[in-house]
Symmetry: C2
Subunit: 308 residues, 2 copies
């Protein structure tokens, strides 16, 4: 590559520069010094080239947005605000400085939407691009997966399935010239997180990174309740009509996308009279009920991704 | 591989389990919830297989120790205490569960030495092993690189050069049967950080991950001073006699190892009457003076590693 590591660092320092007063010491010393609350929320997410993203499918800007959104979503799903992010990136050496700059701009773009500062990171050489981020946030009262109560409703911050629909278009190499297909491709490349939704009254919450089914089951297990999913309610969601058209064109069960897809980074919450889309309710018992799909749900196999 | 991702997660959860009261919500929810001070210190470091470590050179336990020490050292070098760590790991699928367990044990071992908790992370699939960690710490008064004052002494927490000596033995495939050679190999695989040294009175501090020369220059630049390195003082250090013997056997300039080597993760500090090894002093002016090596210092080229 026609540039040095210090050129990359200099570009990143410029893009991530901030005069935000929460940051006492920024990028350039051994570590950053930031203001924190008495309780902090910490999470990490890693994305690997050809596993979580493909260079031919996504722009560096969208790749940056997506991994950043994934990290921030884990903080939001705790009822928190994401304050700080670090981004460590392994580069192959085949990238242009422009590509790296656009990756950083994507990270910055998403961080700005959430009011988060990028306060550090690392650069390394590797055989594939690896982006590893850590988010540090705060919440006066963190919302866990274990708080769902019998009688609660089940809500999504926005309709899921768009990312799975985009993946389907890409893997089947189907070209459909419609706004809906465009949206699916765009949501696959970088999901648009709803930073405005007010789920502060939620009793339990999770980020839908694996799938609604997987995350609903985690909430059911952690809370000792049964979660009943109501596909009729889902089909009344505003965006459903749009997505179902695409599903019919591709001859796919739309509920496979909505319930068993993944990487949407919407928020799944239980509670009473929450905003968003109501998709079910919390009953006594255990596990998931009410799901009727044409084939057994498959897990998110193309882009295998598990949190520890 | 003969195990599932959930087996790995289950092993990691067991190894990283803690009942420490600083942790309100541990591994298992979307994010961890921890107690923090009003100011926190954040840093990230990434290590890539065949770039920062080689499987044939280091045990998984030592690989885990080394990357953890690298992260913790960046907190210590701010005059801080490392409270929390996250570890995200890309695995190739060729590892045994035992290998992964030993990697985690190495991470835990080093974290325990520093009184740090592992509170989260991520697992992904990749073509090479990548370990990315983030450390969150605290300090009532962070010590920056910019505080060195004319008249200060320059100190190392322990003699550097051991890691470079170990790398030299490995790359030249020289087999020397001595305690000194053993120590060099061991320090290369996993440097032993001095967690007891009291550098709280330091005016400036940095972690020696790149080399004494690189980091001393950073302190000089940030503080607007000249740093004079005194090779005669260095040669009076207790461990010098031991290391010089190995350097002579290998016909290497020992100061190349000590001053231009890297990956030692010792602390380099300026101040008055500090503990550790005095290796120079702070003068008015700029840059580094007093260095007399047989050849021009080379940067740490084998294991190229730059912080942003």
């Amino acid at each position: 590559m026609g540039f040095q590591e210090r050129d990359v660092i200099s570009v990143l320092q410029k893009i991530f520069a901030t005069s935000d007063s929460r940051l006492t010491v920024g990028i350039g010393d051994d570590a950053a010094v930031v203001s924190t609350q008495s309780q902090s929320i910490i999470t990490s997410d890693m994305a690997v080239e050809d596993v979580h993203f493909k260079l031919e499918w996504s722009s560096p800007f969208d790749i940056g947005r997506k991994i950043t959104a994934a990290n921030i979503a884990d903080i939001l799903s705790m009822g928190g605000k994401c304050d700080y992010l670090t981004a460590s990136v392994a580069l192959t050496g085949n990238e242009t400085l422009q590509w790296i700059e656009n990756l950083a701009r994507g990270i910055k773009h998403e961080a700005d939407l959430a009011g988060s500062l990028i306060v550090g990171g690392d650069i390394a050489r590797g055989p594939k691009i690896v982006i590893s981020m850590t988010a540090v946030g705060s919440s006066p009262t963190p919302i866990l997966r274990s708080g769902a109560k019998v009688g609660d409703g089940l809500y999504l911050s926005s309709l899921t399935g768009w990312s799975a629909a985009g993946l389907e278009l890409l893997t089947r190499e189907v070209s459909i010239n419609s706004e809906t297909a465009e949206k699916a491709l765009s949501e696959f490349s970088a999901p648009s997180l709803d930073y405005e939704i007010n789920f502060s009254g939620a009793t339990a919450m999770a980020d839908v990174s694996d799938s609604v089914l997987v995350q609903a089951e985690q909430i059911a297990d952690a809370s000792g309740v049964q979660i009943n999913i109501d596909q009729t309610e889902i089909s009344q969601a505003a965006e459903f009509a749009e997505l179902v058209q695409l599903a019919e064109e591709l001859k796919v069960d739309i509920f496979q996308w909505i319930l068993a897809g993944g990487e949407d980074h919407a928020l799944l919450a239980t509670g009473l009279n929450l905003p968003g889309i109501r998709i079910g309710s919390v009953l006594s018992g255990s596990g998931i009920s009410g799901v009727d799909m044409k084939k057994a749900p498959v897990s998110w196999s193309h882009f295998n991704h598990a949190k520890n």
